[in-house]
Amino acid sequence: MSTTTVKPPSGGKVNRLGLAMADYKGGNSTLCAGCGHDAITSQIIRAFWEYGVEPHRVAKLSGIGCSSKTPAYFLGQSHGLNAVHGRMPSIATGAMLANQDLVAIGVSGDGDTASIGLGQFCHMLRRNVPMIYVIENNGVYGLTKGQFSATADYGSRSKGGDLNELPAIDVCALAIQMGCNFVARSFAGDPKQLLALIKAGIAHRGTVLIDIVSPCVTFNNHEGSTKSYPFAKQHEELLHEISFVPFFEQITVDYEEGDVVDVALHDGSHIRLRKAGKEFDPTNKGEALKMLMETNTNEELLTGLIYVNEHGQDFMSSLKLVDTPLAHLGQERVQPGAEALQEIMNSLM
């Protein structure tokens, strides 16, 4: 892959590709001022810039919702597709089949993923389709004016005061069940953690699930909401402090053994988890599920890298495709020769 031809603005700070952060920006957001989604957009921009992903290699995908609009607000030099409601996973799967060189990032909402999209979401996880799947989780359908979604917590109240009597779907626990090998939860109000997680996600091969509590300031930021800024701030429970060391930087050993777990990622990058309170091993599935169950019952908002496994096989490799992306194969490679047809015809005579 050659690097993109855009020149760095003389003088400005640039990444390893010589690109300025501006090269990773998109159109202006049309979301409500203060919407958590915009905060996430900023960290996506920063993460791809700092990591130095070639913009043209990125495919931005989404479903329908306020959250699903955000791909138009970052990486303006990347192709994007805003699919129908809840079906982005199948689009992403198809896009990767056509071109496995793509770096796919999908942005979805809790309604788009956990309500209408639950089936496709689970099957994408099960296949372990290589992509970063971000859920901007506000517990409501923002774009349709604030109805409860399937991640709204039991007992939480809508802006109108209605009580939600259904249990929330924990998309992280679900993802682990479905075999996802990179499961994280974060909060739009925690940019530092978010940034590290997204960069780590870029370095992972396979589906990367990042569930981000992203308050809807217009419809779900009130008293009684469990997805509001105040509630999240009060109830956030850091699993650990996260830092990311990209493959192109030196790892410095500046910590005492024990209180830091260092996870080597697929592309040689590392993610460092510095103990914060709880004892926790993010490479242990059972422990991860148990931890989620506990924190859910205690109304804690557990954030951090909940489960990671760098040894899983992703969907593309299981297909054993030629190295050239299928989309770029010439006629001579995709249309068998006349002798092949002859052979088949003979077998049918």
């Binding site: 043209h56 994007g80 099957h123 030629v322 989309a327």
Partner: protein, 630 residues
């Protein structure tokens, strides 16, 4: 059983249809003595899951190998084992291979249906049956050949399972002998059927021999039906429509196929998988394609659309229920202009309907798929050769027009075995459509995704991962302007929707033109599409021979209609549109485009009970129509 049901029926085909139960052909064959050579229909009645399929294939193939035009239709239930199944083989020296309502030769192996099977025969027919069923008592105007199949089976093999399987080969031997089918051809057919499996071949031949010997020793033939070698099938192949479509797709360079199993389309992607595994791997064993079984049809079409967007030649295949589920996504691909090929192997609707019966009732669902103003391109193969060719056309049109393209076949064509000419190797370049590379962009220096630059209403696109600052754009199912920027402006919206309409108009000039046959001195026309074609061909011959009625014929091969349709109506006074659906769906589309004076000429002939339409039905209906009509 109610009033209707109790009336004489043929596999439950109500007689409440343009009838005249005995046709001229039947009278001929009716006369004892006079041999009827290479012109009869055999029906084998068994239960499914009993392994009778290979026996039937052998029977059909051995007749085929004698040079006699033949067709086989499997009437099977929507379950896996134990329910009635009928396999009809029609041998016809003149090459008429459409289903024939009247049967000449029944092999009654299924006790459950034996009585009705016999009752619904025409006088003079032959019945081969398991001795113990005592069918001869039912009526006395048939020729009966009782055979102790069960007893004979015990001679073949000791193992019960094996015996059950081989028992079917017994009737192959019996029928072969009775119809004087060349044993060498039967042996060749068996060899073909069981490929290199020597043991299986021997066992089956043994069973066949036992059957044949029984006839030689115990039966004196008293019916007129006989096979004689001729040369009408030399060089032809036998294949099912789904496999032919699969081959078409493979030689069209399909790279991504995503599907969800559903009868009768499953075998399309399954045989595609088989062929691709053989012919589409590099030396190092790596695949130049991806075939994915999705979790459902919404995902299958979503993956295909995602792949089409990213530049793959992508397809999915399904049947009615899947089309309904894909509707929303199809509208997305239409509006966002993403290429994708969708095979619809139609079955009997509505809803689950009759999953293992044939019908042509998805036309509205396809052409108008999805909410809002949408119109889609539909290709309609009528035979094996077209399955192969149109599959390729479909990919070229889909990428050429950046839109979903349907290939509509049906269960009859898709799942039955058909004679066909070997396929010509597709020459020429694949039309990958208006895709701009980084180099193109350098040259042009400008890219607007949805601008009609060439005046054909087809815009240019770029693929993800095109390394050029101008390449990127945002695809969406919501309102957008020429630059693919989100827009709610009324003028942007209308301009775009009008362009999509213009694109459909362009398609009229590029889709496969209909097949038209105009006969001097007649003003009567027939219009049909898809598998109805076989019945029409024979029907036109019947009309000519029996009624001295010559007819023009137009076979629709694609939607949108081309100008030929209007011309055809102008060259006729009455046009009979023959369809295998209840609501005259294709005729409705015609009425929406024809002139009133042309519409005045339109008559409907509709056959929609799930059984393939037969020539006699059309002939009777047309004659009836002419009686009032003219």
């Amino acid at each position: 059983m109610d009033a209707f049901g109790s009336a004489t029926t043929e596999k439950g085909v109500p007689v409440s249809q343009p009838s005249s139960q005995t046709t001229v052909l039947d009278e001929e064959s009716g006369e004892r003595g006079v041999p009827v050579v290479n012109d009869f229909s055999i029906q084998v009645a068994t239960v499914n899951g009993s392994g009778s399929q290979s026996a039937n294939s052998v029977l059909m193939r051995s007749i085929f190998q004698m040079g006699i035009p033949v067709s086989g239709k499997n009437l099977f239930p929507s379950n896996i084992a134990g329910l009635p199944t009928w396999f009809t083989i029609r041998a016809n020296k003149d090459g008429w291979i459409a289903r024939r309502k009247e049967l000449d030769f029944l092999v009654a192996m299924n006790p459950v249906t034996a009585r009705e099977d016999v009752e619904t025969l025409d006088a003079g027919s032959v019945v081969v049956y398991e001795e113990r069923l005592n069918l001869s008592s039912i009526r006395d105007d048939l020729t009966y050949y009782p055979v102790p199949f069960a007893k004979l089976a015990t001679e073949i093999a000791s193992d019960a399972r094996l015996r059950k399987l081989l028992a079917n080969m017994l009737y192959v031997g019996v029928v072969g002998e009775l119809l004087s089918i060349d044993l060498k051809e039967i042996e060749a057919a068996v060899a073909k059927q069981f490929k290199a499996k020597q043991k299986a071949i021997e066992l089956n031949l043994k069973a066949i021999a036992i059957g044949a010997d029984y006839v030689k020793e115990n039966i004196t033939k008293s019916d007129p039906f006989r096979c004689e070698r001729m040369d009408k099938t030399a060089g032809k192949i036998i294949i099912d429509g789904n496999s032919a479509c699969a081959l078409g797709a493979m030689f069209a360079g399909v790279t991504v196929a995503t599907w969800y199993p559903i009868t009768p389309s499953s075998s399309l992607c399954e045989s595609l998988t088989g062929y691709m595994e053989t012919y589409r791997h590099d030396e190092d064993g790596k695949a130049t394609y991806a075939i994915v079984q999705a979790e459902d049809e919404l995902a299958a079409v979503g993956m295909a659309i995602g792949a089409g967007w990213a530049g793959a030649r992508s397809m999915t295949s399904t049947s009615g229920p899947g089309i309904s589920l894909m509707a929303e996504f199809i509208g997305f691909a239409y509006y966002a202009e993403v290429p994708v090929v969708i095979f619809d192997v139609t079955r009997v609707g509505p809803s689950t309907g009759l999953p293992t019966r044939t019908q042509q009732s998805d036309i509205f669902s396809l052409v108008y798929a999805s909410h809002g103003d949408t119109k889609h391109i539909v290709l309609i193969p009528a035979n094996i050769e077209e399955c192969f060719e149109m599959s390729r056309d479909a990919f070229n049109l889909a990428e050429g027009f950046q839109t979903p393209v349907f290939v509509m076949t049906d269960l009859d064509l898709g799942m039955n075995n058909w004679m066909a000419d070997p396929f010509d190797y597709p020459e020429g370049k694949l039309d990958r459509g208006k895709v701009l590379s980084a180099e193109d962009l350098d040259r042009i220096g400008k890219f607007e995704r949805y601008r009609d630059v060439d005046g054909d209403a087809i815009p240019y696109r770029t693929l993800p991962n095109t390394d050029h600052p101008l390449a990127s754009y945002f695809t969406r199912g919501s309102g957008h302007d020429e630059r693919a920027v989100y827009s709610e402006r009324a003028d942007d919206y209308k301009r775009n929707l009008d362009r999509l309409n213009a694109k459909y108009e362009t398609a009229r000039t590029r889709v496969p033109a209909p097949e038209v046959s105009l006969v001097d001195g007649t003003r009567i026309g027939l219009i049909a599409y898809g598998t109805t074609d076989d019945a029409i061909a024979e029907c036109r011959d019947q009309l000519d021979r029996e009624f001295g009625l010559k007819t023009n014929y137009l076979r629709v091969r694609a939607l949108p209609f081309t100008t030929h349709l209007s011309d055809f109506f102008d060259s006729c006074d009455r046009v009979y549109v023959v369809e295998q659906n209840r609501d005259a769906q294709m005729a409705a589309l015609m009425k929406n485009e024809l002139r009133p004076d042309q519409i005045a000429k339109l008559r409907n002939i509709l056959h929609y009970n799930g059984i393939p339409v037969d020539a006699q039905f059309v002939t009777d209906a047309l004659i009836a129509g002419e009686k009032e009509g003219s």
